[in-house]
């Protein structure tokens, strides 16, 4: 353990401050040197961007593909595997990546490294040096970090480790501290067997003595909400085991039900399997109490393929780039997927999203208005959604091609069962309201559903069901998301209010939805926040007004959840830290199911009544959207995550 040495730390701070000034004029040259040494770039996962590679260790950073969107963060490594450059980049109109801020590392062999963080001008020139961080490395481990900003602030952190390499203490030295150059705060760390980290901050006065002020943080503590989910899952286990055994068709040679608890984290909901003697491997394990691994005996063998793509998204701006023009390559690939899914006996929901300019009216716009806030032109709802609009012509094109009742399909066997006409229009799309705050998006989507139902009705008894609105389940209370610059403008609409507006557009026009109109919503936030807003939508928006699928009965409205699952950012929003992502994800998915499962012994309310579909988005993690049950094949072998086994056991 390195002893505290105030003199050393003052020197370190002064060194960092000096470097801030002396290196600034040379920054362009240093940046060029660092960039020239880069032999490979690796992309940061959007959800884990803050982590990045550790600059003080040579390492292999996980290889991720370029992001599909228009922004990202990437890391450049030299031939020795050393991190040299980190850049936040944006995609230019020509497709190139343009950096807007950059950190470079200049290595001083045997001593440490210098991090230079700077903003980059549009022409690539360095705007100014903002920060210098001078790590103090000892034995391959960072024991100190002196940081100086160009506004004069600076501080130093020093770290102490135990024999296993865990940080046990951290000191903070603040600046300015004219009289006392020692630490002003001490952080003590303790770990339990499950890896829970307790951090206790002790404030120190100007003489280095302890102050009464203390702050305790549990770095990996579970919030109460997750503990509640854990208890709920545990209480439901007996009924789950019985139901599983029944579904597996237990026979004479069945001799056990296997609870496959995670070997690392026993608090995870277990996977369930039915053990049969006939399934036993030959040789050994003759006694019934000798059990090999659960999955080897599982009647429901782990097969990540079994859930593949039953919900397909179609980006209209890519599939229909111009009027009367389709991207044939995309359609061919898409239709092959439809055929494959149908061959597996899956029911297919096709969800449409994004709109090319020729479809949403922006191509005819002569002045401005090509985006709203962070929402792009392709997220603008079409102005005209009547039955003779260009948007309707696209719906007709799809239903003619893919309705099971179509006499002119594009490709034999490529058919869909349900067409969901939009995706999260209350959050992703614009405009949500007039400039004076009168909501418009819900009515527009209701009109889109009516037009699609009219077109679908042409195909008679085999008409494709029309679904919508597929709203994101965000609640804003009585108000809606409002624009900071224009407080009257609605930017996001509450899921219940949006549903009421959709229903109102039907009611107002005297349009009865009918049995082929499916009301859909998402439940990402229900899962993460442990709500049951889908039931609120049903009770406050649909009951008494919505005569849709399956009975066309306003007193018994039904609803499908066409997207669910939680991302790390959603978990972070409810206070769940990175190491617990998979654990919490599993618990929350199981708990969400429990809230909807009316047959569950733990279910005390009929929250799931009328909810006929529960889905998970995605099956396989997208490198840009970490909401999968199975890890992305883009980053290595597909591996089922704990949430996969939870999902499978529902």
């Amino acid at each position: 353990m390195k002893p505290l040495d105030p003199t050393h730390d003052v020197e370190a701070r002064e060194a960092a401050r000096g470097l801030l000034h002396t290196y600034a004029p040379r920054l362009a040259g240093l940046a060029h040197q660092a960039l020239s040494s880069v032999v490979r770039w690796e992309w940061a996962h959007r959800e884990s961007e803050w982590e990045g590679p550790d600059p003080v260790r040579r390492q292999v950073y996980p290889s991720l593909p370029e992001p599909r969107g228009d922004a990202g963060r990437r890391y450049g490594f030299d031939a020795g595997g050393v991190l040299r450059v980190a850049e936040s980049v944006e995609r230019a109109a020509d497709g190139d990546w343009i950096p807007w801020c950059r950190s470079i590392w200049v290595w001083d062999e045997g001593v440490g490294s210098l991090e230079l963080y700077s903003l980059i001008e549009e022409d690539g020139a360095v705007q100014r040096l903002r920060r210098v961080a001078l790590p103090d490395v000892s034995g391959g481990r960072m024991v100190g970090l002196a940081t100086c900003f160009d506004d004069g602030r600076s501080w130093i952190q020093r770290f102490e480790y135990d024999a296993s390499g865990q940080v046990i203490r951290r000191f903070e030295f603040w600046d300015p501290a004219p009289a006392y150059q020692g630490p002003r705060a001490r952080y003590d760390y303790a770990y339990d067997d499950a890896g829970l980290v307790l951090e206790e901050m002790v404030a120190l006065d100007a003489h280095g003595d302890e102050l009464p002020e203390r702050e305790v943080t549990f770095r990996r503590a579970l919030p109460d909400a997750v503990r509640a989910a854990q208890r709920r899952v545990a209480s439901e286990l007996p009924s789950r085991v019985r139901a599983w055994a029944e579904r597996a068709g237990a026979q004479a040679d069945s001799y056990c039900v296997i609870l496959g608890y995670d070997v690392v984290n026993h608090a995870l909901p277990p996977t369930l399997a039915l053990g049969r003697r006939s399934d036993r491997p030959s040789g050994g394990f003759e006694r019934d109490d000798e059990i090999w691994s659960g999955p080897d005996f599982a009647t429901f063998a782990v097969d990540p393929e079994e859930f593949a793509s039953d919900a397909v998204f179609m980006d209209l701006s890519l599939f229909f780039p111009a009027p009367n023009s389709v991207n044939s390559a995309l359609f061919d690939n898409f239709e092959d997927q439809l055929i494959e899914a149908r061959n597996r006996g899956l029911v297919i929901i096709l969800t449409l999203w994004k709109y090319p300019p020729w479809m949403n009216g922006l191509a005819n716009t002569s002045s401005g208005g090509y985006q709203q806030g962070s929402k792009s032109a392709a997220q603008r709802l079409p102005d005209d959604v009547s039955t003779t609009s260009v948007w309707a012509s696209m719906i007709l094109c799809l239903l003619t091609a893919y309705s099971t009742g179509s006499t002119t399909p594009r490709k034999a066997g490529a058919a869909i069962d349900v067409l969901e006409i939009c995706n999260e229009p209350n959050g992703m799309c614009w405009p949500q309201s007039t400039s004076s705050g009168i909501r418009t998006a819900g009515c527009q989507v209701g009109q889109m559903m009516q037009t699609a139902l009219i077109i679908s009705s042409w195909f008679g008894n085999q008409a494709t069901a029309i679904a919508g609105p597929g709203a994101t389940d965000v609640r804003y209370g009585s108000a809606n998301g409002l624009d900071d610059a224009n407080p009257a403008l609605v930017t996001h609409t509450d899921v219940v209010v949006f549903a009421q507006d959709v229903v109102a557009s039907f009611t107002s026009a005297g349009f009865v939805p009918g049995t082929r109109a499916v009301f859909t919503t998402h439940n990402h936030h229900d899962i993460a926040g442990q709500h049951l807003n889908v039931a609120v939508v049903r009770e406050q928006a649909l009951r008494g007004h919505w005569a849709g699928w399956p009975y066309a009965n306003v007193n018994d409205p039904h609803i499908w959840i066409t997207e669910g699952g939680v991302t790390p950012s959603m978990l972070a929003a409810v206070g769940i830290a990175p190491p617990d992502y998979q654990f919490a994800r599993s618990l929350l998915i199981a708990a969400a199911w429990g809230r909807l499962d009316n047959n569950s012994t733990a279910q005390t309310t009929q929250g799931g009544a009328g909810v006929d579909l529960f889905t998970h988005y995605l099956f396989e993690t997208d490198p840009g959207y970490d909401c999968g049950l199975v890890s992305s094949s883009a980053t290595g072998p597909r591996v089922a995550q704990p949430s996969y086994y939870t999902w499978k056991s529902l």
């Binding site: 009547s386 309707a392 007039t434 009168i438 209010v497 107002s508 005297g510």
Partner: protein, 131 residues
């Protein structure tokens, strides 16, 4: 504040003086004309909707005429919605949120007069909120 250009859409079946003002793109005058003469224009729209009737697939050989017939129905309903908006403006009232607006079409596919629709809405609201 409302967007007068919404009233210019050529698919909207305005008639008489309103149609002339639409062609002139005289937005303020058009909204004023419609708002001050709600009954007249409502009657005209009602007659049009009755004449159009509800299009049914079995009445058409191909889909395009079927969709065109529906577009005319949708245009009449939209025109009634705008007509009521103009009436509110003329009376100095602001537009209502979607879920607060009285229905436009009744169960027999006829346009409802705004005053009838308002009474119906109030009666339904009273039924829903009664203990």
């Amino acid at each position: 504040m409302i967007d007068a250009t919404a009233f210019y859409d050529p698919v909207l079946p305005w008639s008489g003086r309103a149609e002339e003002l639409r062609k002139q793109k005289a937005g303020v005058a058009l909204v004023s004309e419609l708002g001050r003469n709600y009954d007249t224009y409502h009657e005209e729209l009602s007659r049009r909707l009755v004449a159009l009737g509800r299009p049914r697939p079995e009445d058409y050989k191909t889909i395009q005429p079927y969709l065109e017939a529906w577009a005319k129905v949708q245009a009449v309903v939209r025109a009634e919605d705008l007509l009521r908006l103009a009436r509110d403006v003329a009376a100095g009232r602001g537009p209502l949120q979607p879920s607060e607006r009285p229905p436009l079409v009744d169960q027999d596919d006829r346009l409802m007069h705004v005053e009838v629709a308002e009474k119906l809405s109030k009666a339904e609201l009273a039924t829903e909120t009664s203990p």
